[in-house]
């Protein structure tokens, strides 16, 4: 990479990495692993940088790279680890609300989603991406995004409705 390109990349990475890390955290649930995923994603961006268009697409590409790094990790892990099934002995509703805030409950619920469903939720409702952009970021069809998102939301809503936390709504968009 040319020096000027590398300087451009560094400037981009410095500006983007914190936002990417927040997205990665919501995707994986661990800040340290989120940093690792961002690092891997930025390395992939570095490799592609000379060919990336400089028209505001760098961040979309970087986000796609980070999502891909998270999903790659989840897939490799799933081949070597036994998936954790929902715990039938989890605390009763009263204990649940006593010990967990709504935020923690959401984090717990996200952790119970399959990785791609979780990614759909994070990209659609944290990154506020359209269905088409989410599909592009995940490398799948728009129909897959719709169905995966619907399943994920059903699961999240039912978890909340079954607890004293009450209803879960999508909330207002940021635009």
């Amino acid at each position: 990479m040319r020096e000027r390109d590398e300087a451009d990349f560094v400037a981009f990475a410095q500006g983007a990495r914190e936002r990417l890390r927040r997205t990665a955290f919501l995707l994986c649930g661990d800040w340290d692993r989120a940093s690792d995923h961002v690092q891997e994603g930025l390395i992939r961006v570095y490799v592609a940088w000379p060919r990336l268009e400089r028209a505001g697409r760098e961040y979309a590409y970087a986000r796609k790279a980070v999502v891909s790094a998270v999903l790659d990790h989840a897939r490799r892990r799933s081949s070597t680890e036994v998936a954790v099934e929902p715990d039938p002995e989890r605390p009763a509703a009263g204990d649940f609300v006593d010990t967990l805030t709504a935020r923690a409950a959401l984090m717990d619920a996200l952790a119970g989603l399959p990785p791609r469903q979780r990614a759909c939720v994070v990209l659609r409702y944290f990154e506020d991406l359209s269905v088409a952009d989410t599909a592009a970021a995940l490398g799948c069809s728009q129909g897959t995004v719709k169905s995966q998102t619907a399943r994920a939301l059903d699961r999240l809503r039912s978890i909340f409705e079954d607890s004293p936390l009450g209803e879960l709504t999508l909330g207002a968009t940021s635009w």
Binding site: A13, Q39, Y46, A48, Y61, S79, A102, R116
Partner: protein, 447 residues
């Protein structure tokens, strides 16, 4: 009580702990990976045993014109030289007969169905998937004459697998276990008579990588490379050309220790006590290089009947990195990247005899070569010369069979006389995005 999903997610990341990614490490690893990517790509594609859904970027930089060779100061290889423009147009019915083709219209959106190779008795190893929430893959043997699929029992291994031997009696697919680049080798062996999969692992075998796929030797054993030494980039990284790409030609190569395992006996693991770069088998010889993924000075030939060894100087260019390696009959085929020049890359497919005599070198900008089906298959990625070419080492015939290549690494091992290539389907939505679809072609070659 109402909880808003968007609001909750924003709250969750409002105050992240310290721990930003290390940009110095990103730059260091990025520079290194640019080099590895350029060197590693051809080896993987040459192996042509898997589908790589290339998300987001093209898989090969290539040149604007794959036939353009930089005039200054690109060195001329020893011996006869062919350009892509020397190839004549191949014709169906004259040069080959199409046995089957398969089209996936949008591999960027979802996985499809693939030809993963051809068995020695002419059946296609047909793969469907991975699909669904659990990414399940299923395989069939497809008869190209009838189109009939004989679905195989479910395969337990659902990670990335590579076919390495598709025989009349058994199919051998290999995989690596582990989360890192190197891992423990496993083989999924399908007994065609018993119609049963079995899994082979070898506890005494060190971890390895898939930079070159294992090969079944003439003795029926599976030969693998265990990483020994790895070349490193110069301090400060590789120089870059005007296009911003690193020029890692003339690199220090990597070496491996050759091991072999039995496909019948899990305890039968053997260190062959031979350090190699790349290796290949002919019917009666083991052929190997000193190093790979870098410059290579010598090629060795061991007569498997007598154990007698000879070696030769391939007389590759000084800056030529060895990227792919194979043998066809008594011809050795070397795929090489030899540097960036004022007006393009110097890529070569060098063919020489096992006595070291030059046969020809196919030279151009943005091409790569591999051995498949007893032929030399050359792929060009750029400009008006994009497409697949075939060189017959025996006759010297050099023809072009297609005028485009897909964005995906497709195909697998085929017996002599068969050939597979792929062509693009559809248009990319953006130059940085892959072309969505691909057609695979399986042909019988007319020699």
């Amino acid at each position: 009580m109402v909880n808003e999903l968007r609001d909750l997610m924003q709250q969750l990341v409002t105050s992240p702990p310290e721990g930003d990614s290390d940009l110095g490490a990103v730059l260091r690893d990025g520079r290194s990976r640019v080099r590895r990517r350029r060197r590693g790509l051809v080896a993987v594609v040459a192996a042509a045993a898997t589908v790589a859904a290339v998300a987001g970027v093209g898989i090969f930089s290539g040149g604007e014109d794959g036939d353009r060779v930089a005039s200054h100061p690109v060195p001329r290889p020893d011996g006869p030289v062919l350009r892509l423009s020397d190839a004549t147009q191949a014709a169906e019915g004259t040069d080959y007969d199409v046995l089957a083709s398969s089209t996936n219209k949008d591999l960027d959106a979802a996985n499809g169905q693939y030809y993963d190779g051809v068995t020695d008795d002419g059946l296609i190893l047909f793969r469907d998937g991975p699909h669904g929430p659990e990414n399940r893959t299923r395989y069939a043997l497809l008869d190209p004459a009838t189109g009939e699929e004989d679905w195989l029992p479910a395969l337990d291994e659902q990670g990335q697998v590579w076919p390495v031997a598709l025989g009349r009696d058994r199919l051998v697919l290999v995989a690596l276990q582990g989360m890192e680049e190197a891992g423990r080798l496993t083989a999924q062996v399908f007994d065609r008579a018993q119609e049963r999969w079995s899994t082979m692992t070898w506890t005494g075998l060190p971890e390895l990588t898939m930079a070159q796929l294992p090969k079944v030797g003439t003795d029926g054993r599976l030969y693998v490379r265990v990483p020994a030494t790895e070349g490193s980039p110069p301090p400060g990284g590789w120089p870059t050309g005007d296009g911003g790409e690193a020029d890692d030609s003339g690199a220090e190569g990597d070496t491996y220790d050759l091991w072999s395992v039995s496909l019948e006996d899990r305890s039968d693991v053997r260190d062959e006590r031979l350090r190699v770069g790349s290796f290949a088998f002919t019917d009666d010889a083991l052929v190997w290089t000193d190093t790979t993924n870098g410059t290579n000075a010598r090629i060795h030939v061991r007569d498997l009947a007598t154990g007698e060894e000879t070696d030769l100087d391939p007389r590759s260019g000084e800056r030529c990195n060895l990227l792919s390696f194979g043998v066809v009959g008594d011809k050795i085929v070397l795929g090489q990247y030899c540097g960036d020049y004022d007006d393009g890359r110097d890529d070569r497919v060098q063919v020489l005899t096992t006595d070291g005599e030059p046969v020809t070198t196919i030279q151009g900008d943005g091409l790569e070569g591999s051995v498949s089906g007893g032929l030399v298959q050359v792929t060009s990625y750029g400009g008006r010369t994009a497409g697949t070419y075939v060189y017959e080492p025996g006759s010297g015939r050099f023809v072009r069979v297609s005028d485009g290549v897909s964005s995906y690494a497709l195909g697998g091992p085929v017996p002599d006389g068969y050939l597979m290539w792929d062509t693009p389907v559809g248009e990319a939505t953006d130059p940085q995005e892959p072309i969505p679809g691909a057609t695979q072609w399986l042909v019988r070659w007319r020699s």
